[in-house]
C-alpha cells in the first residue's frame, strides 16, 4: 500500500518561519532595510516551497487513492470498485438460486407428504371399522390391498422427501460463499474510507498553510427535518435505534394506538 499519510513538514515549516521572523525583528531593530527585504523574501520562499510540497503530496495522494480504488492492490487484482458491485450481484444471484432451489424442493415434497397423511387417515378410518367388526369380507380384502399399496407408496414418498430435505440442506452452502464475498467487499469499503480520510487530512494541511477558509454550508443547504419525505430505507439492522420497531408486536402496538 502506498503510504498516504503526511510525513508532516509542518513543524519544520513553523520552525523555519519562526526563526526567520525573529531574524526579521532583529534586522528591523538594526535598521538594515536591505537585509529586512531579503528576510521577507526568504519567508515568502519558505511559504511557497511548503505549499508546492503539500500540493504535490495532495496530487500524488489523490492519484494513488484513485489508482488503488480502481485496481485494489492489496485485495488481489480482482477487487476494484467495479468488481465490488459484480461481487454483490453474485451474492444476489447465489441467494436467489438457493431460495428458488429450496422452494422447488419444498413444493415438490409437500404433495408427497399430503399423500402419506391422507392415505394414513383413510386407512385409519377403515381400520377402526375393522376393529369395530363393521367390515364386510370383501371390504376387508380391499383394506389389505390398500395397506399393501400404502406401505409401498409411503416408502417411495419418504425416500423422495428425505432426498429433498438433504437437497434443502445443501442449498444453504451459499452462506459460506456469499459470506466470504461480503467480507471482501466490506474490507474494500473500509480501505476506500481510510484513503478518503487521508485525502481530507492532506487537503486540510494545504488549507492550513495557505490560510484558505471554506464557507460553512448555509442553513438552506441542509435538508430540514420536517421537509424530509417518507422514503423506503430497507431493513433496519439495529432495531434498538430510536423510532425503529422491534418486530411485529411493536407494529401491532403502534397501529392499535392509531386506532387500528
Amino acid at each position: 500500500m502506498a503510504e498516504l499519510h503526511m510525513d508532516s513538514q509542518a513543524p519544520s515549516f513553523q520552525q523555519e518561519i519562526k526563526e526567520l521572523a525573529e531574524d526579521l525583528l532583529r534586522k528591523i531593530e538594526d535598521g538594515d532595510l536591505g537585509k529586512v527585504v531579503g528576510v521577507v523574501n526568504s519567508i515568502n520562499e519558505v511559504r511557497d516551497r511548503t505549499l508546492y510540497d503539500e500540493i504535490g503530496k495532495l496530487t500524488r495522494g489523490l492519484h494513488e487513492a484513485i489508482k488503488n480504488i480502481t485496481t485494489g492492490d492489496e485485495l488481489s487484482e480482482d477487487s476494484g470498485m467495479g468488481q465490488a458491485s459484480d461481487k454483490l450481484s453474485y451474492v444476489i444471484k447465489m441467494t436467489d438460486k438457493a431460495a428458488n432451489k429450496t422452494m422447488d424442493l419444498v413444493e415438490e415434497g409437500m404433495p408427497l407428504n399430503s399423500e402419506i397423511l391422507d392415505g394414513a387417515a383413510d386407512l385409519h378410518e377403515q381400520w377402526q371399522k375393522f376393529l369395530r367388526k363393521e367390515l364386510k369380507p370383501n371390504e376387508f380384502r380391499d383394506l389389505t390391498k390398500s395397506i399393501d399399496s400404502y406401505l409401498l407408496q409411503t416408502q417411495i414418498n419418504s425416500k423422495k422427501i428425505s432426498s429433498n430435505l438433504s437437497g434443502i440442506l445443501m442449498a444453504q452452502d451459499f452462506q459460506d460463499l456469499t459470506g466470504q464475498v461480503i467480507n471482501r467487499v466490506t474490507k474494500l469499503v473500509t480501505e476506500v474510507e481510510t484513503r478518503l480520510v487521508d485525502l481530507v487530512a492532506m487537503a486540510g494541511e494545504v488549507d492550513r498553510i495557505t490560510g484558505i477558509t471554506h464557507a460553512e454550508p448555509s442553513q438552506n443547504d441542509i435538508p430540514q427535518e420536517d421537509s424530509k419525505k417518507i422514503a423506503p430505507e430497507g431493513p433496519q439492522i439495529d432495531t434498538s435505534l430510536e423510532g425503529v420497531v422491534d418486530g411485529q408486536d411493536d407494529v401491532d402496538d403502534l397501529l392499535s394506538s392509531l386506532g387500528f
Partner: protein, 124 residues
C-alpha cells in the same frame, strides 16, 4: 378471491403465493412494482392487494396512495408486507389507508392472522 402480490424479489412473491395457497387462496397474480401493478389492478377484478414497500419504479406506499385515489379501487383491502420498520413509515402507511402491516421477516401465522383480521373487518 383474486389476489395481487407485488414485490420486486421473485423469491418473496413465491413465498407469499405459497403461504396464500396454504391459506386456501389459489387465485393469485404477481407484479414486480407499483407501475406494473396499477394497470393490473385497474383492469382486473382483484379482491385483495399484498404489496412490498421498497420497489423500483413505483413504491408500495405510492401504489397504495394511487389505489386510495382511484374511485374504482379505493375500497380494495391492502396488506403491506415490508422490511420498512420505522415508526414514521408505519404511521405514514396507516395515514395513506393501509389495512394491515406485516414487517419482514414474518411467519406464516402472522400473515394468516393479518389477512383474517382484514377480511373480518371488510365483511363485518
Amino acid at each position: 378471491m383474486k389476489i395481487l402480490v407485488v414485490d420486486d424479489f421473485s423469491t418473496m412473491r413465491r413465498i407469499v403465493k405459497n403461504l396464500l395457497r396454504d391459506l386456501g387462496f389459489t387465485n393469485t397474480q404477481e407484479a414486480d412494482d407499483g407501475l406494473t401493478a396499477l394497470p393490473m389492478l385497474q383492469s382486473g377484478d382483484f379482491d385483495f392487494l399484498v404489496t412490498d414497500w421498497n420497489m423500483p419504479g413505483m413504491t408500495g406506499l405510492d401504489l397504495l396512495k394511487h389505489v386510495r385515489a382511484d374511485d374504482k379501487l379505493k375500497t380494495l383491502p391492502v396488506l403491506m408486507v415490508t422490511a420498512e420498520a420505522k415508526r414514521d413509515q408505519i404511521v405514514a402507511a396507516a395515514q395513506a389507508g393501509v389495512n394491515g402491516y406485516v414487517v419482514k421477516p414474518f411467519t406464516a401465522a402472522v400473515l394468516k392472522e393479518k389477512i383474517d383480521k382484514i377480511f373480518e373487518r371488510v365483511e363485518g
